[in-house]
């Protein structure tokens, strides 16, 4: 008799837990990204997305710290900060910058606005959103298809982040001072985008296998 009541209590507790986790499951299912994952698992359409300046380098720590309030986006003057608004799971509603659409102007406002430690106020030269990488097999001056220099002229950091190669003064070269703001990606006129933002460890030059 006693065992039966214990069993009943267990079942009731399990039912309560199941009912209580139902809304979280529903919220997960309402995201188109989650439904797409169910249809074709492992698909990842995330390309060239970087976190806003001052974001914690460890992305898991960033996702844990971000509450998805959207303040960083609401203070962003160029409106470059977008949100994973249709993605489910952990990164839902976290901010990103897609430099193909709009690069970051390094104005500091998002770091000041963030109420949590997700975006930490960082001095300009310590910001690390990544580093620009140039595909020398596609960039116009590098394949001798003309002179361009759009990326060099738009760079907010100038000399210490980007410059021209010594022996051919039309070919852009990324330097270590680059913080990965992505303005060069935004202005690059080549349709295939031979410049993009990568993790700093990957270096500034695409290494093609011949």
């Amino acid at each position: 008799m006693q065992r039966r009541s214990a069993l009943q209590r267990l079942i009731r507790g399990a039912a309560l837990l199941a009912a209580a986790s139902l809304p979280y499951g529903m919220a997960r299912l309402t995201t188109p990204e989650a439904r797409a994952q169910i249809r074709s698992p492992g698909r990842n359409n995330e390309r060239n997305h970087i976190r806003p300046p001052g974001a914690l380098k460890d992305d898991a720590a960033f996702v844990a710290a971000c509450i998805g309030c959207g303040l960083c986006g609401e203070v962003c003057p160029p409106r470059c900060i977008r949100f994973h608004d249709r993605d489910g799971g952990g990164k839902a509603n976290t901010p990103y910058i897609n430099p193909e659409e709009k690069g970051c102007t390094l104005c500091n406002k998002c770091m000041v606005a963030c109420p949590t430690e997700a975006l930490v106020e960082t001095p300009l030269n310590e910001i690390d959103m990544g580093i620009a990488q140039i595909d020398r097999a596609a960039c116009y001056p590098w394949v001798d298809r003309g002179i361009c220099g759009a990326c060099v002229s738009v760079c907010p950091l100038g000399e210490r982040a980007i410059g021209f190669e010594m022996w051919n003064q039309y070919r852009p070269v990324i330097k270590d001072g680059c913080v990965g703001c992505g303005l060069c990606v935004e202005v690059c006129p080549e349709p295939s985008l031979p410049i993009w933002i990568v993790d700093r460890a990957q270096g500034t030059v695409v290494k093609h296998k011949v």
């Binding site: 809304p23 710290a65 509450i67 309030c69 959207g70 608004d85």
Partner: protein, 335 residues
């Protein structure tokens, strides 16, 4: 002499509450447009705007010119939403956001913890007042209740099921556990005020509703078809947290049994399905004052005490009835 009367303005607090809800919601609608306008002014490129953007620019310029000369800077004074926002330099956050973030990161970040201090203090004093007075989703849910009432008058079958109220505390607990397990603030995805705040921003400033809108429409349907105001009553994790914090709130509503005529309008109007007629307010009353406004005999008032007053029995008509009934043993003898 005689029965105590409530202060005459308290009947009108419900209108003030609707005003407050409307202002919060209107701000959440206006802020994205203000931000878009700010981005236009920051870019100094009026001539490059599309015609519709120029229209928006002109309208916003007309509206804000009275307050500011430099919109790109000055309109930063009010930013964000009720989940977390800054108000003239004062950063305020929802206690649920702080709880969820602490659970997700398994650590305490003091500056963020402090942003919830003022809401928590007000909740300790006023109980679940956020749910009735500020929450942008409450406006939509209460309008939805009205629509449901009209629908039921037209003959549609509107759901009025009842579940166990303790479910929402389980939702809160499960949410905290899941947040700790997955390392992200999962409550943000199911908490209606957070959803409404950011979806309005996504829709008006970033050009499209996100996935949260679908979930929110789902909760509206749940309220209409399954249980009246069901999400707030049975599911909302933020409501659960506010209820727990406001358990021993100081400001609460009480019934004046001497004036009460047992008409039960208060029970009918109560959005949270509480039982003011039998003095059962409990920790879930959000001091919305709808029962004060609806009471025909002015038998509802505020009281300052940390617990509900114990059950007072029926009101004056019921007492007369009981007295007559017990003395003469006949219903006809009741005056």
């Amino acid at each position: 002499m005689g029965t105590p009367k409530p202060f005459f303005l308290w009947r009108h607090l419900n209108k003030l509450r609707w005003l407050s809800l409307s202002i919060v919601f209107a701000m959440l609608v206006a802020l994205p447009f203000m931000h878009v306008y700010q981005t236009f002014t920051a870019a100094h490129a009026y001539d490059l705007l599309a015609p519709s953007e120029k229209q928006l620019y002109d309208v916003m310029e007309t509206l804000t010119a009275v307050f500011t000369e430099d919109p790109a800077e000055d309109l930063d004074a009010i930013k964000g939403n009720t989940w977390s926002g800054s108000f003239f330099g004062l950063q305020l956050s929802d206690p649920l956001a702080v709880a969820g973030q602490m659970a997700a990161g398994l650590k305490v970040y003091a500056p963020f913890l402090l942003t919830a201090l003022i809401p928590v203090l007000f909740t300790l004093l006023l109980g679940r007042f956020f749910c009735g007075w500020i929450c942008p989703a409450t406006l939509l849910y209460e309008l939805n209740t009205n629509v449901s009432t009209w629908l039921s008058r037209l003959g549609f079958k509107v759901g009025n099921r009842h579940f166990d109220r303790r479910l929402k505390y389980a939702v809160l607990g499960v949410g905290l556990l899941l947040s700790a397990a997955t390392g992200s603030v999962l409550m943000a995805a199911i908490y209606p005020p957070a959803i409404v705040g950011r979806e309005l921003y996504y829709a008006f400033a970033l050009g499209g509703f996100g996935a949260g809108t679908l979930f929110f429409v789902g909760t509206l349907l749940f309220d209409t078809l399954v249980a009246r105001r069901g999400f707030c009553r049975y599911v909302c994790p933020g409501g659960a947290l506010y209820s727990l914090l406001g358990r021993y709130r100081l400001v609460r509503i009480r019934r004046i049994a001497e004036s009460c005529n047992d008409c039960a309008k208060c029970n009918a109007v109560c959005e949270f399905g509480l039982d003011p007629l039998r003095d059962h307010f409990g920790q879930e009353c959000n001091n919305c004052t709808a029962c004060i406004a609806v009471c025909p005999t002015q038998a509802m008032t505020f009281v300052l005490r940390p617990t509900d007053i114990p059950e007072q029995g029926p009101g004056h008509l019921g007492k007369q009835y009981l007295r007559a009934h017990s003395e003469k043993g006949s219903i006809d003898a009741a005056p």
